[in-house]
Symmetry: D4
Subunit: 147 residues, 8 copies
Amino acid sequence: MTYTIYLSGEIHSPWREQIKDGILKNQLDINVLSPITDHDSSDNIGSRILGSEQNNFWKDHKSAKINSLRTTNYLGKSDIVIIKFGDKYKQWNAAFDAGTAAGLGIPTIVMHNSDLTHALKEIDAAAFAVTETPDQVIEILKYISQP
Amino acid sequence: MTYTIYLSGEIHSPWREQIKDGILKNQLDINVLSPITDHDSSDNIGSRILGSEQNNFWKDHKSAKINSLRTTNYLGKSDIVIIKFGDKYKQWNAAFDAGTAAGLGIPTIVMHNSDLTHALKEIDAAAFAVTETPDQVIEILKYISQP
Amino acid sequence: MTYTIYLSGEIHSPWREQIKDGILKNQLDINVLSPITDHDSSDNIGSRILGSEQNNFWKDHKSAKINSLRTTNYLGKSDIVIIKFGDKYKQWNAAFDAGTAAGLGIPTIVMHNSDLTHALKEIDAAAFAVTETPDQVIEILKYISQP
Amino acid sequence: MTYTIYLSGEIHSPWREQIKDGILKNQLDINVLSPITDHDSSDNIGSRILGSEQNNFWKDHKSAKINSLRTTNYLGKSDIVIIKFGDKYKQWNAAFDAGTAAGLGIPTIVMHNSDLTHALKEIDAAAFAVTETPDQVIEILKYISQP
Amino acid sequence: MTYTIYLSGEIHSPWREQIKDGILKNQLDINVLSPITDHDSSDNIGSRILGSEQNNFWKDHKSAKINSLRTTNYLGKSDIVIIKFGDKYKQWNAAFDAGTAAGLGIPTIVMHNSDLTHALKEIDAAAFAVTETPDQVIEILKYISQP
Amino acid sequence: MTYTIYLSGEIHSPWREQIKDGILKNQLDINVLSPITDHDSSDNIGSRILGSEQNNFWKDHKSAKINSLRTTNYLGKSDIVIIKFGDKYKQWNAAFDAGTAAGLGIPTIVMHNSDLTHALKEIDAAAFAVTETPDQVIEILKYISQP
Amino acid sequence: MTYTIYLSGEIHSPWREQIKDGILKNQLDINVLSPITDHDSSDNIGSRILGSEQNNFWKDHKSAKINSLRTTNYLGKSDIVIIKFGDKYKQWNAAFDAGTAAGLGIPTIVMHNSDLTHALKEIDAAAFAVTETPDQVIEILKYISQP
Amino acid sequence: MTYTIYLSGEIHSPWREQIKDGILKNQLDINVLSPITDHDSSDNIGSRILGSEQNNFWKDHKSAKINSLRTTNYLGKSDIVIIKFGDKYKQWNAAFDAGTAAGLGIPTIVMHNSDLTHALKEIDAAAFAVTETPDQVIEILKYISQP
C-alpha cells in the first residue's frame, strides 16, 4: 500500500527536503504532499490574482482562502500528517492543521525540540509519534512501509 | 433552538465571564461549555490521579489526555466554537481547537486584536466571524438567537 | 416524534406565518425554524457589529457569514427543509439551501407557482413534494404527523 | 496529486473551453468534469428514453433525474466545484450545485460579474474564491497545482 | 436509555398493536414509530393533496414520496427497526426498509413464518434476531431494556 | 470518469448480458459488477465451505453471509445500482439491495414491467430512473457517459 | 453537559457498582450504561426466546446477537467507554468493545492491573487514560464534570 | 474489482503465508496487507527510534502507537478483515482489530478452532464467516472473486 503524507508547518528549515531525500534513498512507496512554502508567493496570491485590497485583513483573507483550496484537499487525502514546529513565529497554522487532522481522524506525527513540549502538549497527546528530527520520521516511515 | 457554544483559548482574561454575563442579561437560549481553565489543576491532573512521572513529557501527556476527554466531547457537541487568541504564550491548543472544529465542520467565531491578523490568517479565513471584543460576540449571539 | 422544519426562501409574502398558523390550528408537534427575514437587518448585520466596509463585496460577505452561522445550524438540524420560490429577485440563496439539504441528505418540500417549473426542474426533482400553496404544505405536515 | 474539478452553471458562454484550454496550455494535472451542456438534449432526455409525458412537470422531472445521475456522481467526486453565474436565466441549478457542494464539504470557486455580488452573497460567502474571469480561475488552478 | 423502534412491513395483521401492548404491560421505556398503515389513505395521499394524475405511475410516485417524508425520518431516527413479512402481497417496501436500515447501520429484528426462510435469507442474515411472533419480539425488548 | 455499476436482482433472464453487450458495443467507460448469479452455487456455498447444517435456516444463513461479503463490497463501491424486478419469486433480496443503496446514498435505476408499478412504488420513488428494458438502461448509460 | 458512559468488560468484580456509587456520592451529571452482566441469562437468552439449538455455535450466536442489540446501541451512544480487564477468562469481548469505540471515534478509559500492560498495549495506546482502580476513574469523571 | 484484505491476529503460525500462497495459486485479484509480524521488532520500535524508557508502560506505548500508524491505515483501507485467534497468549489486539472493523463497518472473517467458540461468540456474531482453516478462507476468497 502506498502511503500519502502531508508535510505541514515550519517553512524556514530544510526538513521537507530531508524527508523527501530519505524516502528516495530508502525507495519507500510514499507520495509526499506539501503546502506552498514560498512565503511571499503565498502571502500575495490573493491580491495578485483577485485584485489588491486596501485593508490587510482582506488581503490576508483572500490569500489564505486560495491556499486552503490546496491544503484542504492535500491534507484531507493524506494517510499521515506530519507537522513540524519551530521556535520562530507563531505557527498557528501548523497547530490548525494538526487540529484539522484530528477532526478528520487522520493520524499525525509531530516534530519539535523538547523545549516546546509543554506548549505543544495537547497536539503531542493527539499524535501517534512525537519526534525531534527528520531522521526519526524517516525511520518511522521505513518501519511502517515494510512489505 | 438552543445553541451550544464552546469557549476555547485564552485563560488569562475574563472574556468567558463577559460572554456568559451577556448571555444572561440578554436571556439568550445558549448553553456555554468551556475547558478547565484552572492552569495548575489542568497541568497536574494526570500525575495527581494516575501517578507522578519523572519525565515531563509523560506528565504533560497524561494531563493533556485527561483534559481532552472533556474538550473532545464538549467541542464535538457544540454548534459554534468561539476561540480567543491573545499575545501571551503560544496558544497552540487554541489553534488546535480551531482546526478540530474545521475538521468536524463546526462553525467558528474567532476573537483577537488586529495586530494578530497576519499570524492568524488561516484560522480567520476558516471562521464565520472575526471579532475583537466579547461585546461583538454577544451581539452576534443575540442576532442569531432571534425568534 | 417531533419534526423540526426549516422554512427557507421568499421573504416578501406571509407564507411562513400561514404555515405556522396551520401548525398551531392543527396542534402539530412540529418545531419551526427560519432565517432572519428582516431584509435590512440581515443585509447590514456585518457592518453593524464588525465595522463598516468601503467595498460592498466585503460588507455583503461579513453579513452573509453571520447569517450562515444561524442558517447552517438551523438547516443542518432540520428533519425537513421547505423552500419557497417566487418570481421576484434571483433567490439564489433559496436554491443554495435546497442544494445544501440535498448534500446533507435532508428531505425537502418545494413551493412555487407552476410557471417556474422548468427553471426549477433540478430542485423539484430532488424534492419529496412540489407544492404551490402553504395549505398543501400544511396538509402534508398533518398527514405525516398522524400518530 | 491530481485535482478533479466540476464545472457547473452557465452554458451560453465558452468559459468551460477557456478553462480546459488553460489547463492544457499549462499542462496542469487536472481532470475536468462537466454536466451535459447541450440544452435540447438535456431537456428532452427523459421523454426520449423513457417515453413522452403530457404534463411538462413530469417531462422535466424525468430529464432532471437522469441528468442528476451524472451530476450527483461527478460533483460528488470532485475536489473543487467551479460555478459560473451569468445574468441570463434563473440559473437556480447552479446555485443548487453550490449548495450541494457546501453540504458535502467540497470547496467551491465562484465566477460572476460584480453586479451580481449582492444577489450571490450567501454563495460567495461559502466559496474559497470569487472570480470574474476564466483567466483568474486558471491562475488559481496553476498556483495550487505547483509541485 | 430509551430505545426508539420503527415497525415496518405487514399492515394486515395486528402485530403492531400486540407489540405496543407488550411494551405498555411491561412498562418498557420504548418509543414506537410506524408508517401510515391505512392503505387507502396512504395510496391516495399524493393525488389528494397535490392533484390527481391520469397516469397511475405518477399517482403512486407522489404518494410514495410523501409517505417517505415520514418513513425516511422515522426509520432514520430509530435504534432498532423491526420488520414483519407475511405471505400476502409482494411486500417489497418491507424489504426496502430492511435494506435502508442495513445501509444506515441500524440493527434489525425480522419477523416471519419459517416457510419464508429461504426467500428472506439475505434479510435474515443481516438481522440481529429472526423471530416468528410478536411475543418473541417483546421478550427481546424486555431483555435488552433491563436496568 | 469511469462509472462503476452494480447489477442486482433477477437471475432468470439475460438482462445482465444485454447490458454488458450494450456497454461493449458503445465502448462506454463503465465497470460492471454483479452478484454470483449461479443459483445452486450461491445457495450451497455456506455448507460447501464451512460444513453442512441440519437446520435449513443455518444453511441459508451461512450462504447468505458469504454472498454478502461480495455484495456488500460491490454494491458499496458502485456509483449507480441497477435493479431488475420480475414477476417470478419474491425477489426480496433485490428490494433489500435497493434499500441498501438508498441508505448509502447511491443512486439507483430500477427495471420492471409496468404491471409491477404499484407494488414497487416506494422503490421506484427512490430511483433516478424507472425503466422497462435493458435498452433503456443502455441509453441512459450512453447519455451520462458522454465526454 | 451530561456525559453518558458505557461500562464494558469484567463481570466478576463489583467495579461497576463502585463507579456508580462514586457518581452518586459526588452528584455527577452522568448516565451510566452497562451490558447485561448476569452470565447465565446472557448466555441463554437466544435459546430461551428463539428456541434451542443442538449446535453450541448457533446457541452462542443467537445469544450474542441479541446481546449486541443492546451493546451496539448503548456503546454507540456513549461519550466515553470505560473498559475493565481482569486476569480471568479471555475477555475478548472487552477488547472487541474497545476496538468498536476506536472505530466509532469514541474516547476510552481502560482499567487493569499493571501486569497486563504488555498484553494490552494496543488498547492502552488508543485510550485517553489507563487506570488501575475505580477510584481513579471516579476522580477523572469528577475532574471532567466540573462546571 | 480488486479486494484488499487485512490479516490480523496470531503471529506464531504460518497462516498468513498459506493464504498468500492460495491467492497466488488461484490467481485471485486480491491485495494482502498485514501488520509487522516480527515480534521483537514490533515491541522495540518505539525505544529504538524515539529513545528508551525506564517505565515499560511508556516503552510499550510508544511502540504500540507507531505500529498503529500502520494498522490504522491498513485496516481502515481494507474491504475485508480476516482475524486469526489461537490459544496462545491473550491476543487482545486481534479482538481489538475485530472491534475496529465493526466500528468502521468493514466485514470480517474470523478463523479459530471450535474450542474457542464460546469465548469468541461476540466476535463471531459480528463476522460474515467463521472458519477454522486457511483453506476455508481461500475457498471463500475464490468464491467471491469469481468474474
